[in-house]
């Protein structure tokens, strides 16, 4: 991952793309949610170390999702919107001693403030949401989940087709900007499809998201204009990463007893 000095970070998203495109010959990059920076205080000559959030790149090249999600969309969406959220968040954290130093998950829950969100919530949650979203997709995605995930979906929705219908319907009936999620609900110990507005994500209710779909217009407008139905179907058919979903379910089982420990997840 490229490291960059906070104060001289280039505003151009084009530079961002070239910065990160080098590393994609190797398999999935390790998760680095904080970048260590050195910032020298000129007046005192002492060195201060601040850790800030960095813009984590999607685990694929920006054109890897073509023709279903164009390079242009990824450049604008990841390099523009997602980057703005990261920058905005860092600026807010700079001034906030209480919140500085939280992990991303903690930050989202704390700033949600039980429904009365703090100003940092929008940026924090959107950074988290977009990281999660890029990971929820892969080149050559779509198709069907396998093994334990499929069994759990069939158990909680009746059939994969039912689940898919419900997911698509939720996406298309979402008013305004928001996200659609497949979540594992902790209390009820079952999967569910939920939709959230703007920046809200299921972490705030302590549920475990498995996959997400960005239904903000900027996510699909360049590629599909107002044809949301096409976008959602393309996501389900060609983009959604059931591999990642499987990994997430496996991790979730450490926290939620789904009651059937014999299911081979992975």
């Amino acid at each position: 991952m490229g490291s960059f000095c906070y104060h001289t970070f280039p505003a151009s998203s084009h530079l961002l793309v070239s910065d990160f495109s080098q590393g994609f010959k190797s398999p999935k990059l390790p998760y680095l949610s904080k970048q260590q920076e050195r910032w020298f205080s000129r007046s005192q000559g002492a060195s201060k170390v601040f850790a800030y959030y960095g813009l984590r790149a999607p685990p694929y090249k920006l054109d890897a999702l073509e023709p279903y999600m164009s390079r242009r969309t990824l450049e604008k969406h990841w390099g523009g919107h997602h980057w703005n959220y990261v920058e905005g968040l860092n600026k807010q954290l700079e001034k906030n001693e209480v919140l500085y130093g939280c992990t991303m998950d903690e930050l989202v829950k704390v700033t949600y403030n039980n429904g009365n969100p703090l100003p940092e919530f929008n940026n924090a949650a959107q950074v988290w949401n977009h990281d999660f979203f890029w990971d929820s997709m892969q080149p050559g995605g779509g198709d069907m989940p396998k093994l334990g995930v499929l069994q759990q979906i069939e158990k909680d929705f009746g059939s994969f087709t039912n689940f898919r219908e419900k997911f698509v319907e939720s996406a298309l009936t979402l008013f305004g900007s928001g996200w659609v999620w497949l979540v594992l609900k902790r209390e009820e110990r079952r999967l569910a499809v939920i939709k959230t507005s703007n920046a809200v994500c299921p972490l705030v209710w302590d549920d475990i998201p498995i996959i997400s779909l960005d239904m903000w217009e900027h996510a699909y407008y360049l590629d599909y204009k107002n044809d949301r139905g096409k976008y959602v179907n393309v996501f389900m058919n060609h983009l959604v990463s059931w591999n990642v979903a499987t990994g997430r379910m496996a991790r979730a089982e450490a926290f939620v007893n789904l009651g059937e420990p014999k299911i081979p997840i992975a």
Partner: protein, 223 residues
């Protein structure tokens, strides 16, 4: 209200107790490309012909379902339909106002308001620049989808700048509020041209804002 006669075309269908009013897409008073370069023809066409039309179609559908539910006394459905009516009906109201808020440069787009509205703006905000600045900053700060409004409070006679979320009409922020100008800050209103730089869209839209219309509404409603 004058607006309502433009928005509705009453047709009675079916054997219901009430006739269903079917709403239809109002014509744009200018060509799709007439607002260039502030707003591209591509956006205008999609915005009017696809988005606004979709709100109207879904509004009509929701009203039809409402009529059925009312006839049966099905309270659950009546209540459930409210969000669809608010969203799609609101979308219809808001966009109908929006098309009138814009006009090509050659027909006076961008010309600042004079007489009573001009004075009222100076009194309430100090100057037109200050008002534009306020509207732009509130519009840029709006998270997600919504509208930024410049309106008149009929009761207090004050001019206000407000934002609403999604397709909520201005009246949801205050029952006495009358919209003079509304700017759509949903991403579909600017994304193809301005991408994620909403502030640029807000800066440029003033070149095609129809202050004459806003003045007319102000004069009528402030009596």
């Amino acid at each position: 209200m004058a607006l309502r006669s433009v928005l509705t075309r009453k047709t009675t269908l079916g054997l219901g107790l009430r006739g269903i009013q079917t709403f239809s897409l109002p014509d744009l008073p200018y060509d799709y490309g007439a607002l260039e370069p502030a707003i591209s023809g591509e956006i205008m066409q999609l915005h009017h012909h696809k988005h606004h039309q979709a709100y109207i179609t879904n509004y009509n559908k929701a009203l039809e379902q409402l009529e059925g539910a009312l006839a049966k006394g099905d309270t659950t459905s009546i209540v459930k339909l409210q969000s669809a009516i608010k969203f799609n009906g609101g979308g219809h109201i808001n966009h109908s106002i929006f098309w009138k808020n814009l006009t090509p440069v050659r027909e006076g787009g961008g010309e600042p308001p004079h007489s009573s509205l001009g004075w009222a703006i100076d009194t309430n905000f100090g100057s037109l620049e200050a008002l534009v600045q306020k509207i732009n900053s509130e519009g840029a700060a709006l998270q997600g989808s919504g509208w930024v409004w410049f309106g008149l409070d009929k009761e207090s006679k004050k001019l206000v700048v407000e934002t609403t979320a999604n397709q909520d009409p201005l009246v949801t922020k205050g029952q006495h509020l009358v919209p003079l100008l509304g700017i759509d800050v949903w991403e579909h209103a600017y994304y193809l041209q301005y991408k994620n730089v909403r502030p640029d869209y807000l800066k440029n839209i003033w070149k095609v804002i129809n202050w004459k219309y806003a003045s007319e509404v102000y004069d009528k409603e402030s009596k």
